[in-house]
């Protein structure tokens, strides 16, 4: 019969894919999800969706799911299925043994932005009360850690200043290093809607992306800069603003530190940042830089949206500061239609940043070195806390290679595929004595694990996510977790096994604890979110239902601070051996490391990473569309097929990193951001050569071994 199954139940939840955080209705029939439909009342998506959230949900019932806890002594051994209790006891026992042998600081944990706020909070609590150190990091280390750093430094809050709807009030939209229509599709649709209504779109991106040019949405200025010259170009834009006196002096005098502003003006106002000097170095027309600066400054309401094209550089944090400076200088902050907004990659990257999963910070971006903050948590947890920062994830790997770091509890992460310098990460993991991985599937990283804890997908648990606009929304359990425990219960089990006893009956109690200890969340509760649908932090007595637009009256740090943003060229340079610059990104139908989307029918659109190369560069190398090529850098090499594309300029090649076997992170550089160690994924000097049959066979063997 052609009559469709009618769902018997519908539950509102939040999509776990990207940082847009769309509200969905999970419709079930007989306990099975039959479809996901976008929730009209979802304040992030207003009833819209993308191919991932709307359709790509089958991953949760894929045969590859890990269905039981497993342990093994050596990574050469086969897995042995065990009970949860045995797994917890074994894992905790190993961590304690390592600490006794190598010291308290020899173990750590890393949390996942695909987990809920409550789960991320429990992971940092695990490190602090279970491991008794600050060796806790989160996966935004490799994506948006510079956002938190750079925006905190300038504006005082490491988060988007606006809500998504705000873009409909913008006259000018500046997109820097982001491709919303692919990476944040539902927000991208909103952006296009704003452009169709007359907003002027400005794009800074090395590629001619879909955002630059698509039907009825075209950038009026596109600065296709050479990868790695972000700070140079942004300083040049600031130069135009300063030298042409396009800044909003009244705003700066009222809201910002004037002395720092003058210091900043003297720096960016220098002739070394004039478009005539910068243009040739960045591969841009000087007048295009001027045009973009003038349009942005003219507003009346200009807004900035940016992505990993800003952060994933050795000057990632500096680049973010450039954006904060620019917005303050032009008075484009503190009302609807303006602002500075990071587009977050994963569903809960903002939550990952907010909830204290940092080696140097507690929840709400408060330093562990601050005794008063420590006292709040010591009082809540009834335990003495370490007052010194711990190791960051890359430093944990460095320390593991050096032999001083031996145990790691990884929640829902696949650093072997997604972290920089794959060989270094593998060496680090090999050097550890206990690697605990909590994940939905076996991954590249679980090959190095000793304990495998079956994670629960976002369809299998209760909690909250915080999206890229600081919006905290409800995640609801639609189906039972495959191995019986939700992720937060697993971490609670680990904490208890470490010897610190605690008990929560429901994740709402964890959010209550976050509210008790964190000023920006002080008004937050499941009850409130249930009542109003979703809540943007800060949520407190002054803003009992949350805050849509930040910085309307003052900045959290008081006066806005102009930071000096000297351009320091990356050490990664092209030369005769590696004459091309490789930059990376993502595509609509696949998601990050692809662990979920690769297990859905989304492969129909994109079933492998490909390398985009300009026609010039392809011709020089005798390459044609579809050819297999070897991509080699100073760090490693891999093989990909090419697409000859008009979207990249000569000298630039581009790929995605959705597929494990392509090992793009074996090629990318191991340089990273000066402030946060966020990897420089966006700039790697490479050479591309056609694969001969012999090498191809060799490579395939290597990959499958």
């Amino acid at each position: 019969m052609p009559i469709p199954v009618k769902p018997d139940q519908s539950t509102i939840t939040t999509c776990a894919y990207c940082g847009v955080g769309c509200g969905f209705k999970a419709e079930t029939s007989g306990g099975q999800i039959v479809r996901m439909t976008p929730w009209k009342e979802g304040k992030a998506n207003h009833g819209h969706s993308c191919v991932k959230g709307r359709f790509a949900f089958d991953y949760y019932r894929h045969p590859d799911r890990v269905r039981s806890p497993m342990i093994r002594v050596s990574i050469e051994d086969p897995w042995r299925e065990v009970s949860w209790d045995e797994a917890f006891a074994h894992a905790a026992g190993e961590l304690k043994r390592i600490q006794e042998t190598y010291g308290s600081g020899s173990v750590g944990a890393v949390s996942s932005s695909r987990c809920t706020n409550e789960e991320i909070y429990l992971m940092q609590k695990f490190a602090r009360v279970g491991l008794r150190n600050n060796n806790i990091d989160n996966c935004s280390r490799i994506c948006h850690s510079p956002t938190q750093f750079g925006l905190s430094a300038t504006l005082g809050a490491g988060a988007a200043s606006q809500h998504f709807d705000s873009i409909l009030r913008s006259d000018v939209i500046l997109v820097v290093g982001a491709n919303p229509t692919e990476g944040h599709p539902v927000f991208g649709s909103m952006m296009k809607r704003s452009v169709r209504r007359g907003a002027n779109l400005l794009v800074i991106d090395p590629r001619r992306t879909e955002t630059v040019d698509s039907p009825h949405c075209r950038a009026s200025v596109h600065l296709a800069l050479r990868p790695g010259t972000n700070v140079l170009v942004l300083d040049s834009i600031a130069h135009v603003v300063v030298t042409e006196r396009l800044y909003d002096e009244a705003f700066v005098r009222a809201r910002c530190d004037w002395d720092d502003f003058e210091l900043w003006m003297s720096q960016v106002g220098d002739v070394r940042y004039s478009p005539d000097v910068v243009g040739p170095e960045a591969g841009l027309e000087p007048d295009a830089i001027r045009e973009l600066a003038r349009r942005y400054a003219a507003g009346p309401n200009s807004t900035i949206y940016y992505g990993l094209g800003v952060t994933e550089h050795s000057q990632g944090s500096t680049g973010v500061m450039c954006l904060g400076n620019l917005a303050m200088a032009c008075g484009m902050i503190g009302r609807e239609g303006v602002g500075v907004n990071p587009l977050r990659g994963q569903g809960n990257v903002q939550g990952g940043s907010c909830l204290g999963s940092w080696p140097h910070m507690f929840t709400g971006y408060r330093f562990v070195t601050d005794a008063a903050t420590r006292a709040v948590f010591e009082n809540e947890w009834k335990i003495d806390l370490d007052g010194e920062p711990g190791l960051r994830l890359p430093n944990m790997f460095d320390a593991a290679v050096a032999g001083s770091f031996k145990g790691l509890y990884i929640q829902g992460e696949d650093p072997v595929q997604s972290d920089p310098n794959r060989h270094h990460v593998e060496a680090a993991l090999r050097n550890m004595e206990c690697v605990i991985v909590q994940d939905l599937y076996e991954t590249e990283t679980t090959k190095f694990a000793h304990v495998l804890l079956p994670g629960s997908s976002s369809l299998e648990k209760n909690g909250t996510f915080t999206n890229a606009e600081r919006r905290v929304s409800m995640v609801r359990k639609i189906v039972e977790p495959v191995a019986g425990l939700e992720d937060w219960e697993i971490t609670v089990g680990m904490i208890n096994a470490m010897g610190y006893e605690l008990k929560y009956d429901h994740p709402s109690e964890v959010l209550d604890e976050i509210a008790r200890t964190s000023p920006a969340y002080s008004g937050m509760s499941f009850e409130l979110i249930e009542r109003v649908g979703s809540v943007q932090w800060p949520c407190n007595t002054a803003a009992p239902e949350g805050t849509e637009v930040l910085h309307t009256v003052t900045f959290p740090r008081g006066k806005g601070s102009f930071m000096l943003t000297e351009y320091v060229p990356t050490k990664e340079r092209v030369d005769d051996r590696f004459p091309l610059l490789l930059t990376t990104g993502r595509i609509l139908s696949q998601y990050n490391a692809g662990t979920q989307t690769r297990r859905t029918a989304n492969n129909a659109w994109y079933d492998d990473d490909v390398l985009d190369i300009s026609a010039d560069d392809a011709a020089q190398r005798g390459l044609r569309n579809g050819d297999r090529v070897r991509v080699a850098s100073r760090y490693g090499e891999t093989e990909l097929s090419i697409t000859v594309s008009g979207r990249v300029h000569p000298g630039v090649v581009y790929t995605t990193f959705h597929f494990a076997h392509t090992m793009v992170n074996a090629v990318t550089s191991d340089l990273n951001d000066w402030a946060t160690n966020c990897p420089e994924y966006k700039v790697t000097a490479v050479e591309v050569t056609k694969v001969t049959k012999v090498t191809k066979v060799t490579k395939v063997t290597e990959v499958t071994s």
Binding site: K6, W39, F55, H216
Partner: protein, 247 residues
Amino acid sequence: MWSELRALRDGIDLGTPPRDGEPVTLSVDGIPVTVAAGSSVLLAAGIAGCTVPKLCASDTLEAFGSCRVCLVEIEGRRGYPASCTTPVDEGMQVRTTSDMLAKLRRGVIELYLSDFPEGDIDGGWSQLNTTLDQVGVHRLADDHPYRSGANHQGGVLDMSNPYFVFDQAKCIVCSRCVRACEEIQGTFALTIDGRGFGSTVVAGQNESFLESDCVSCGACVQACPSDALIEKSLFPGGYERADSSQA
């Protein structure tokens, strides 16, 4: 503020986007109702509790006025304007039911039914089913003169997208999918090809959905009132077209 986005409610379709505007008071079937200026008569009627049947209208899309089911009568105006495309005016007096309206709606619905697979109506739960219930017509009589006319029951069945089907036999050419692709998603992958009775929804340059620029966001599936675009996951045994023989 932001009404067009934020005043949308789950499970309720006001027919046209809610507006931010000065209050305007009118009466619908004698019931006074106050809505924002710029709102449609259809929306006002809904708020007054007078349900007007509709097919091409949705509160997530701008009014289009193609289905001609939401016709009403307005005191002092000629004819039977579509309530979706008629903005409210202060003091306007609207009638949503009359013998003539019932006759016209029935007449329009019969035209739809004359090109729709009968087997897909009983037991269905689409917007079309709701509208048929409201108008009170569910099938053409066996001897109805419209029977055995030209139709699209052998039209395209596009299964290329991994997640949804497009079955032209069930397409009522309301353009909701086309408009959703433009207004909501902004991809402009869908269009109406052909003219008049030959008008059909096509993806791209008359390609399959998978080959076209369609990004599979699902906005078209969400918008479709007649299940011509529908999730494959709702057909556990696989999608099969209803018996295409029109009596």
